[in-house]
Amino acid sequence: MTAETVVELRGVRAELGARPVLRGIDLAVRRGEVVALLGANGSGKSTAVRTVIGQVPAVAGAVELFGTPLRALRDWARLGYVPQRTTAAGGVPATVTEIVSSGRLARTRFGRFGRADRDAVRRALDLVGMGDRAHDPVTALSGGQHQRVLIARALAVEPELLIMDEPMAGVDLASQEILATTLRTQVAAGTTVLLVLHELGPLEPLIDRAVVLRDGCVTHDGPPPRALGQHALPGHDHVHPHAPGGAAPIGTGLLG
């Protein structure tokens, strides 16, 4: 079974400042797959996804999305992106609906909104269980709710490929479970997913393949490292989602 390749990196090198962060990585994600990028802090996993979406330029190698070189990609509506959470709040108040509506710009001409767009926004909010918070300002949300809003914004695009950078970081257990359910629904509907994770956590059953980075190189590409557990990953921050509430993450790794 050789499904169409949706994301392809070949020999990609990337730098931040003058520091090489990716030292020639190969990565292919085929249609319908759920691929997790794992690795310690500083291993280059975030840079790898940021290279895929063109935020960090590749200094060497090839980046293709949907079989098209990134540079030539025009149809961005095929892609939904969830950035690593900083904050969705800008210098001016904005409601959950206003933030999520930004995602629809990929589907509208000149930003004109119709009923279909408003429906898509509402559906996306319902999917992440934030339908009842639609008119709340984003500043009133918890970290996990905030993350759900950013995922709804990507889902509002109605993408065939979902790229997520650490969607579970700093997310409370209830939100983690909602996100896992949301993702399961998307995957069942045929969405391809590439996500950066610090640990497999509640998403583990969904992951088809794990790609482990270390110092900007791929050190593992295959089934999720279940046998050894994620504990074996260098610099792994150990966070137990099932630990009693409020348990502080215990840094066990070299870089943690």
């Binding site: 892609l79 001016v92 930004s102 918890s142």
Partner: protein
Amino acid sequence: MEFLDYAFMQRALVSAVLVGITAPAIGIYLVQRRQALMGDGIGHVAMTGVGLGFLLDASPVWMATLVSVVGSVLMELIRWYGRTRGEIALAMLFYGGMAGGVMFVNLAPDGSNANLTSYLFGSLSTVSASDVTAISVLAAFVIVVSLGLRRQLFAVSQDEEFARVTGVPVRALNLLTAVTAAVTVTVAMRVVGLILVSALMVVPVAAAQQLTRSFATTYAVAVALGITASVGGTVTSFYQDIPPGATIVLLTIAVFLALTALAAPLARRRARAAAAALPAGDPVECAIPAARAAGG
């Protein structure tokens, strides 16, 4: 309403309304992207345009528009490429613009810093009919851009990276925002003055968001406050014989302070309403997230 009998006041009031609309209409995006002082920088650069207008015997308004548009594009490019040393480059652009203005005005035949004063601090009596025409054309441009592209500008100002991945032409929109802000500076220059223009781009927005929870409402309230302050300040300035720019800006700040004082009890009431909206019989713990949310 005797002030309406004077032709110069009619011109000043038309300009004041346009300033009141346009300054917050584009300023809100600058506040959103945390570049609230950008308008101030453009105001400095525009001084060179005013100076050139005197020197070349051309319209200072149009020359200021030209120079501040070029300056704002440079600022945007510096922001884009400058990274670490961008701040120094911006400082040179701002102060170079100011020094250029003073220099050119004094080089102009029978020119002196006195000519510059009305542009720096605003003046009612010197707004000419051709100024009003220029201001109207420029204001129309600002309104079309800031309202017509509000979804795109909102997305870019909120999260540049996400906007780019959504296929929004981020770079073009950033340049357009900068140019529109530059045009707004010259719209406001005659009434409010170059030094104070930035206040009218920022303070009404800051005042509005003391009460509002959505971007759309903040936008509407900021524009309403902008119009109220600039018209109110213009009329007050007519009766009291005080400079219009300073009056308008102080009025805006007074509104900001008043709304800030109102905001605290309002937030408490909203928190209580949110707590009351929880289903009856919920354990007390359920009130905690709401209280925390209101606090953060």
